[in-house]
Point group: C2
Chain length 432, copies 2
């Protein structure tokens, strides 16, 4: 492949023969997957659980074997720093998270940390010296399943969330985030605050079916779609089912069911690749012989186009109020969370695309439908992601799966991108 192919992408041809060790990467992933494994073949390693501690301990031990300097910040984020020739230059950062969904999978998050570790190991065994330092990062509580919201610690690091507020978050049993962090020994001394970085790369499974459906090896996301979360509460009238005629019922579940179908129909009405989902629904009193007197459900709307998503929500709210009125039910709507769409640094995105091409992998330009720690990183510096295929498009479930070959391919793309950025002396488009 001619050198011209690399023009402008900053890939250092001096190391373009470097490859990760796919077998070693697989063994790391398998070892990590033993900590919090479920009988169903998945993972249940909630943030700040004992299993999270064990996973962190293993990562720290592996990092120390490589001679990297390990630091833990106040939010439990773990940084493993490999020095550069000019160690005062802002580093290249790469990583993801080790916590999982409840009964989730073995790859979500973990691949990005193990991929970064494999990059460091490859550089270590080949004695590669880079201009800039390289920092592996394991972000605390990306999933947000135990402590809401998701991506909490990268959010604090990026300055979008407040540390004390985060420490005070509680799980379903009333345990405080800050206390649990101290309990597992990972409330570190380093302030959780952003520092200049030259580039941030995150390797991750796609979590969707597109790469597999289109037969591509590497997904190149241009950014992350917007994310709008709503909570809808319906107040009807609970009553004995047998003695309450159909006419005049205020059935909160029937009302909710009509709303669920409106949400389902929304993307087709709006276009623009929007998705809209009701993931949670609760019925009260939830007894088979009582007409449901109350219901609560969530709405998740995502789109690359923030305005389209807001317009969709206006439409949906009006429909909800009309449906509730038709059933004589009250409706209360909470706007729970909104994150605008987030664009990655175009030059890093191009580097991911070109590195994959140079390595002989087919690519697909896309958007990320899921939030990642890279979302917050992209708000404070140049960031990009590397996606690899999810078999059957499944994730957040125990059967989540990615082939070892695809894991290796993603780690090789990550290696080339990290190397290219780490060899750059100039700030370029980077923040430092």
């Amino acid at each position: 492949m001619p050198a011209a192919h690399w023009e402008g992408t900053g890939v250092d041809e001096g190391h373009d023969e470097l490859r990760v060790d796919g077998g070693r990467l697989r063994r790391s992933l398998e070892a990590m997957a033993e900590i919090g494994a479920t009988p169903g073949g998945g993972m249940h390693r909630l943030a700040l659980s004992d299993d999270d501690r064990r996973a962190r301990d293993l990562l720290v031990a592996w990092l120390e074997e490589l001679g990297t300097r390990v630091e833990v910040d106040e939010m439990g984020n773990i940084f493993g720093r490999r020095p550069g020739r000019d160690d005062g230059l802002p580093p290249v950062m790469t990583g993801s998270h080790l916590d999982t969904q409840p009964r989730g999978g073995r790859f979500d998050g973990v691949l990005g940390v193990m991929g970064a570790l494999e990059v460091l190991r490859t550089l270590h065994e080949r004695d590669v010296v880079t201009e800039r330092p390289i920092v592996l990062v394991d972000w605390t509580n990306e999933e947000g399943s135990r402590f809401a919201p998701a991506m909490m610690a990268s959010g604090v690091w990026a300055g979008a969330l407040d540390r004390d507020w985060a420490w005070a978050r509680t799980d379903a049993d009333g345990f405080r985030f800050g206390d649990e962090l101290a309990r597992i020994g990972y409330r570190g001394p380093v302030p959780c605050a952003r520092r200049p970085f030259h580039a941030y790369y995150e390797l991750h499974i796609e979590q969707g079916p597109r790469l597999e459906r289109e037969g591509r090896a590497i997904g190149v996301p241009r950014g992350i779609v917007c994310l709008h979360w709503y909570d809808v509460y319906i107040e009807g009238t609970a009553n004995q089912v047998g003695t309450t005629p159909m006419e005049g019922r205020n059935d909160a579940l029937v009302t909710a069911a009509e709303m669920v179908l409106e949400v389902r129909d929304l993307p087709a009405r709006m276009g623009g690749g929007m998705v809209a989902t009701v993931g949670e629904l609760y019925t009260h009193p939830n007894s088979r012989n009582v007409v449901p007197g109350a219901a609560h459900f969530t709405v998740d709307i995502r789109s690359w186009d923030d305005e389209l998503a807001l317009g969709a929500w206006d439409l949906l709210q009006a429909e909800f109020r009309a449906i509730a009125a038709r059933h004589g039910c009250g409706v209360r709507i909470e706007e729970t969370w909104r994150v605008r769409h987030n664009e990655f640094a175009p030059e890093l995105v191009a580097r991911v695309r070109h590195a994959a091409g140079r390595l002989g992998y087919s690519t697909l330009d896309m958007e990320s439908g899921a939030g990642h720690d890279a979302s917050y990183m992209a708000t404070v510096g140049p960031a990009a992601m590397v996606f690899v295929p999810s078999i059957g498009g499944r994730s957040h479930v125990e059967v989540e799966e990615t082939s070892w070959e695809d894991c290796e391919a993603g780690a090789n793309v990550l290696l080339q991108c990290v190397l290219a950025s780490a060899h750059e002396r100039d700030a370029g488009a980077g923040a430092g």
Copy 2:
């Protein structure tokens, strides 16, 4: 009112001036409502709880004050027997239940027991001697909220359910019915098996809005509608919401929502006063950023016409399978429980109607949409019920309410019916 009006109804004009003491009835109801009272003004007195024991103890103390002979059977049913002139004749029985729904109301069941007690007290203070004995009964676990199914102990008494099977039923915490019965001291020595009775009357709140809507004081049910319970399980594909396109989703909740609306539409399609309800619905994993991978809901269908209900179910099942197929979801359907409609003894029903009229109360002929202990009693002897209005048609909820005047009216109708049956020497239409 001319005597001819009473012809053939067996009402004994010798006692037709007798009236219950409305104030005393109210005080009994209020005292009972203190045992297991909720902050919301309702009752939480689950079967075989400590509060159930306290309510039973109070009832037994009151019965013993009247000199009635109290017996407790193996299912915890409490019988208070007031002798007749010919004590060998099959008795007239009357009662209901003292257990309540979780956070239920103060009248459901309790009114029928307190009304029966008020009848005994009235006869006692007036030294009325009846031909036949009169037996007050408090049936165990009518609600079935803690130990399924409902009407369990009257079912065993009537021979429809097996005692050992009932004893082995467990609650959500794994406690066995038989053990809990012994724990509260109400696993009595008397075999739980039906004995001949001349008539069974049960006073109860309507639990629906019809009496109030039509401005009538006394409901006269001709029987109890059929009751069909089904459980529907949907198997879809759980997935990350942001990364899974709308096309090709197998969303179990969307599938369930379409089915819920089919259930809602069923009565209008079928006619015949049918009601159909989805009371419970569960979504899995029930996480706002995961496409629901499974759902489970219940269906309750009731109608006077058993065949119509069965036909409706056939229709519904076909719709369910078509909906599931359209969404690429699996569906499994369980036929959980079926009870045929149940007709009360026409001569007792006529007696209720005529006694109410004689007392100057307006009446409404109707059907009972709810099951009652009278359902099982009607399968083994002559039974009837007396309904009084539920304010707002509400029941199984804390705000369940009936006016004291209506409680008194119902108890007066019960008194006249019990007296009339208890004065009858001949077996008549009765079982003994």
